[in-house]
Subunit: 270 residues, 3 copies
């Protein structure tokens, strides 16, 4: 299986699918093609959320504001999965999560980009061919043995296009600040806003345990287990399915109601 995740919209990902299908019969699964545009941090968040649901596979993830510059292309082996991505750090948070799930480390490889046909569409010219080549370590058939027997680091290193490296952009998602001596005060940050308008922060949901109301940037907001715990149109704070504190509105948009967008600080007191 090769999953595709990009910020390309349409129809560019179809060119990537064609490139993959010319090289392999591996199943192609669309993860998303509307990741926040040009925002590798948001891509890192979403892929860290989504990819651990998958069995071991190859994941081709392209959010690449530096396309055509001298930024490298990398492949990251993590817990039986391999992520193929530009070296802007987007792959590292999901890779570390995938590796941690099986108590393993990661292996990073630099991808030889060859001679791309374009300077602006490396999804087609570099990343999709690299993903197909990696998948082909387990053959080109639609039904692979990948999940049961994913390639070792040595097998990947044996591919002509891959070279092990210790030099890569090691992005980490930001950690919230806990005020000294004030465990009830946490200043986090909005990482992403989802399509529902939920403003998802980097504050672990554990902060909400035992609280039924918190101050969000100074305003008292109820803590609810479900959207329906408050009337339609009302604000709430909840533990999102990603394990982080969200600022939401039942049947409405939390980002608008809280005045929050990605990157904004959020101070919780409770």
């Amino acid at each position: 299986m090769i999953t595709l995740a990009t910020d390309f919209g349409s129809p560019y990902p179809a060119a990537m699918k064609g490139v993959v299908r010319r090289r392999t019969d591996a199943e192609i699964v669309d993860v998303a093609h509307d990741l926040p545009r040009g925002d590798p941090r948001a891509a890192a968040f979403w892929l860290r959320f989504v990819l651990p649901e998958f069995p071991p596979a190859v994941h081709c993830a392209v959010v690449d504001p530096g396309v055509g510059t001298d930024r490298a292309a990398i492949a990251v082996r993590a817990g039986g999965h391999v992520l193929v991505a530009p070296d802007n750090g987007l792959a590292l948070p999901p890779a570390r999560a995938l590796a941690a799930a099986v108590d393993a480390g990661i292996d990073v490889f630099r991808i030889d980009p060859g001679d791309p046909a374009s300077a602006t569409f490396h999804g087609r010219d570099v990343f999709a061919p690299a993903a197909a080549a990696i998948r082909d370590t387990r053959g080109t058939a639609g039904d692979d043995g990948w999940a049961a027997d994913p390639p070792t680091a040595a097998e990947l290193a044996a591919l002509p296009s891959l070279t092990p490296t210790d030099s890569y952009v090691d992005r980490r998602l930001p950690e919230p600040d806990v005020a000294d001596g004030e465990p009830d005060v946490v200043t986090g940050e909005v990482l992403v806003v989802d399509g529902f308008g939920n403003a998802i922060t980097n504050v672990p949901e554990a902060y909400l345990h035992g609280r039924d109301r918190v101050l969000v940037n100074g305003e008292p907001i109820p803590v609810g287990a479900t959207f329906a715990s408050v009337p339609a149109g009302d604000r709430l704070v909840t533990a999102g399915s990603h394990g982080y504190v969200e600022c939401d509105v039942n049947d409405g948009r939390g980002d608008d109601a809280f005045g929050l967008e990605p990157g904004d600080p959020v101070r919780f007191e409770g």
Copy 2:
């Protein structure tokens, strides 16, 4: 085959795909992930339109404004298909259509939700696993025998997570009113507006037979077999591909031109 239909946008459905793929190699087909948000009635309409085109399969349909409340999760067996959905009635209109197509009835099962990992993402935690478990009655291979030999009600009842029930939300799409003694006057309702802006009502297309003009909320509008039967920009009334009367504009948006949105009444006289 497992089809997925949600109002989740992106990238949440990808987590559902991962969950399915960890459990089964069944083909995954996206029906839609932009169903009208939080509107089980619209989902019922669209699935009643789309699912009868498919061979027997498992359909996982999640439009779920009550997620995290005590609403149940159900599976509905209908004509070789099984629909997995929240118990808000969205599954019943498509299920009755699928069953009627083979002169059969429906069987409804309550799904044991287990202990969902989240209170807000039962698509991942409840519905996708249930769909995979139901599909697995015919094995986990990509090429199943489902369509030729779908499971019986007794086989589904034997699944540990399913319990037959007679208690469920039995949604019906609204029927139009035909004025007493005035067969030429029908008051219907806009059920959905599609992406083209066509305002699709609940009035069966038979109403248009033999008419070349009708009054729509008092205004005379031509009846056309095709969009191109009127000049670009002009309004028309036509028989939609769903079998219902639509209020459309050729090369434009009917909802805007007629001032109609879902739930609005529409009076036809002709």
Copy 3:
């Protein structure tokens, strides 16, 4: 493999997927369902860009403002591929590109539409069944022999629903004007604007070779190999991955910044 490309948005393409799957287990690949609405020329451009990346396959492409009129439905055999489309010319530019890639010509067939169930949804009633019937010349299994042994023109002509024809809409994408005696002046046209806002013209990229600045409709604009060659927010002209000159903005929308939309003329001097 059967690829699907439409301007239908959602959920109409799902009905086409169901129709295909009832008839064949061929892989279904979504190319795009948000092609510019009612614009066969834009569809021709995008499919000429995308389809050559695919191995030989059946491509079902429906952008069909004339649905329900007496426009014909056609199938075009081109280099092992077969395109199924309304006879509005959208299939011809990609078909000629696919045929040229293998130094071959094209064969065009008229599709007998049968008796469509609707006058407004021939994607479901005419084109998807035709694509499935053509694919079935190589069997209904998921794993076909199509790419290795695509059908001959004679095999296609033997299908009851296909009749060879020389009469079809032979759309050509417009060619730019090169001013007499002024090889440095080219007047092209914006063919499409992509989701990034890049205004893609019909001027071949070769025009940019050796230039580091051009006048675009009289304004001096730097020529860059990559978006990142100019500061964020700045305009540039670049060679797009389609091989044509684009008017772009780094981390912004070229269409807005240049005031360009599809069909607009663009004069390059340099």
